[in-house]
Amino acid sequence: MITVYVSRDSAAISLGADEVAVAIAAEAARQGVAIKLIRNSSRGLFWLEPLVEVATDAGRIGYGPVQAEDVASLFAVGLGNAHPLCLGLVEELPYLKTQERLTFARAGITDPVSLDDYLAHDGYKGLKNALAMEPAAIIAAVTDSGLRGRGGAAFPAGIKWKTVLGAEGAQKYIVCNGDEGDSGTYADRMVCEGDPYLLIEGMTIAGIAVGATRGYIYLRCEYPYGERALNEAIAAAYANNWLGANIQGSGKHFDLEVRMGAGAYICGEETALLESLEGKRGMVRFKPPLPAIKGLFGCPTVINNVITLASVPVILDKGAAFYKDFGTGRSRGTLPVQLAGNIKFGGLVEKAFGVSLRDLLHTYGGGTLSGRPIRAVQVGGPLGSYIPESQFDLPLDYEAYAKLNNMVGHGGITVFDDTVDMAEQARFSMEFCATESCGKCTPCRIGSTRGMEVIDRLVAGDQPVKQEALLRDLCDTMLAGSLCALGGMAPFPVLSALNHFPDDFRPRATPA
């Protein structure tokens, strides 16, 4: 019996993994070769997807990218043998071997919805430890680890949890923000699809720590594969007493449910998300009160991003000091960086904080897919600055980035080559803000539309000096006067484009 792995990650499926899996099963049947076909999670080396792995005594041998029509030739040489698509031992690939995978330790290794697989690969060790601890001790471990919110705001997770523990309320909630709307990011999606028990475990630990018995995962509706994997895993967790009443005989109770968003970027903002969960328009709330005091249905609520919650089990398993030993300055632990856009080797790179952009773009990313020079990279999603090459040596660190008005955010890095028109990108930032604004505050609702118009007049050469002054003034109003990060940060990509690439904003020659 030969064990063969083909990923069920949606990125792999988007490149033909389902067709490859079908072809492998058919070819095995035709040749009478006994195989066990496992649909595993993805390693996150997406340029190699669909990646086929074959278990051997030495380890898993990889082939990729494989298309359905390559399958017959893989069988012809014999599974596990040399072939033009053979990559050797997957875990020896430098891209993977040099990473520090804590949150993504199981990525590509396990069958995402198999509870047995999860338990056999260190799963639920963190929760087992947490069940034997006092709530305050669990929170102290999270605080001591230095874990900060991985959604973008980087608020210390332990402090948030401590506030909820101390808040009065008959009912408390754990809410997972899985509204990963930032372009260039897919780490949350990979966890939901590829390691759903990890998220369930992290949320259960959070529930026990703060005394919350109910949790919701708010997942974006653009992630149908993640929804299915999470629901399958939640059902299995209930069936095996990892969720529900008296978890593993501990007397602790935690219920968990997936709720789907409906295509509104603003619902990634925590208070808008809570409104949406309550069945309302996703309008941003004024703060205070903080969600930790008055959150979902007016009750004390921990609301954390997927990766934040998914980082908790390893902290409870291996200890706060282990996690804290990774990283630099006040940015502790690891960040799953997502290489995206025009990049040759796009994929997930989980590294300790402190790695440079240049290292990520060249050592890992291999430069652009088009082969042209990199002109700009947008870090931190659609509200992050466009960073020029002069800043590529900046270490990935929350404070170092913030000093230059840049943002680490959720760790997405979108690469553009030298054909990019930065005025067009700046205009898109304003357009996106206008499309996605909840409409509650004026700077965001109206400023974004006016911003588009001003950029149009600027590149049309209509009183350009005045237009630029007006655009900068408008950006200042949005930065200082918006209620939340959407209007309050949309000017960052606009201003960075204008500051670093002013030539792109000069009047265009009109086509004859």
Binding site: A11, L15, M260, G261
Partner: protein
């Protein structure tokens, strides 16, 4: 002023005005029966209706509002706030094309132009033969291998113009 101007008219019966078939109404009532007791039930209910019927018909709004004891305005406000919900019947196949930055960086804008030209429609529109509805999406989480689209909720990556034509069964 004559009092007759303000004479109370008999209440309008919803069923008489509704464009919904009895089967559609039964579907909507089924979704409501299943989900209305959930805390914050409105979004799950609207998803349930759209998953079953392909859209949230305008005439579903008063039925949902009555069931949840909300005003029609509140339900309409939610339906219209969220981009995902549509109030017109879609074509046979729904395409969500990613417009976001990571796809732009690998030819997303050119693909968008090609798709619109090939289908002869803009975003939020349905082809005249009722085959395709085109919707924009702002990120499908497939940013390492764009440009990306969802066709009937199936994700496709590295979509070139030629690959798009093959997906919809048109030879270039």
């Amino acid at each position: 002023m004559s009092t007759s101007t303000f004479e109370r008219k008999p209440p309008i019966k919803l069923a008489e005005l509704s464009s919904l078939s009895p089967a559609d109404i039964a579907t909507i009532n089924g979704v409501l029966a299943r989900l209305k007791e959930l805390p914050g039930a409105l979004l799950p209910i609207l998803h349930g209706i759209q998953d079953a019927l392909g859209y949230v018909p305008k005439d579903a709004v008063p039925i949902v509002a009555k069931s949840l004891n909300l005003s029609r305005a509140e339900v309409h406000g939610v339906v219209s706030f969220y981009h995902w919900y549509r109030t017109e019947k879609p074509g046979e196949h729904v395409i969500h094309l990613c417009r976001a930055e990571a796809c732009q960086a690998v030819g997303g804008r050119a693909l968008e132009t090609h798709v619109k030209t090939r289908l002869g429609i803009d975003f939020h529109e349905t082809t005249a033969d009722g085959r395709y509805t085109l919707e924009p999406a702002y990120c499908l989480g497939n940013c390492a291998v764009g440009p990306s689209l969802l066709i009937d909720m199936q994700l496709r990556g590295r979509v070139t113009s030629a690959r798009f034509d093959r997906l919809i069964g048109v030879s270039a």
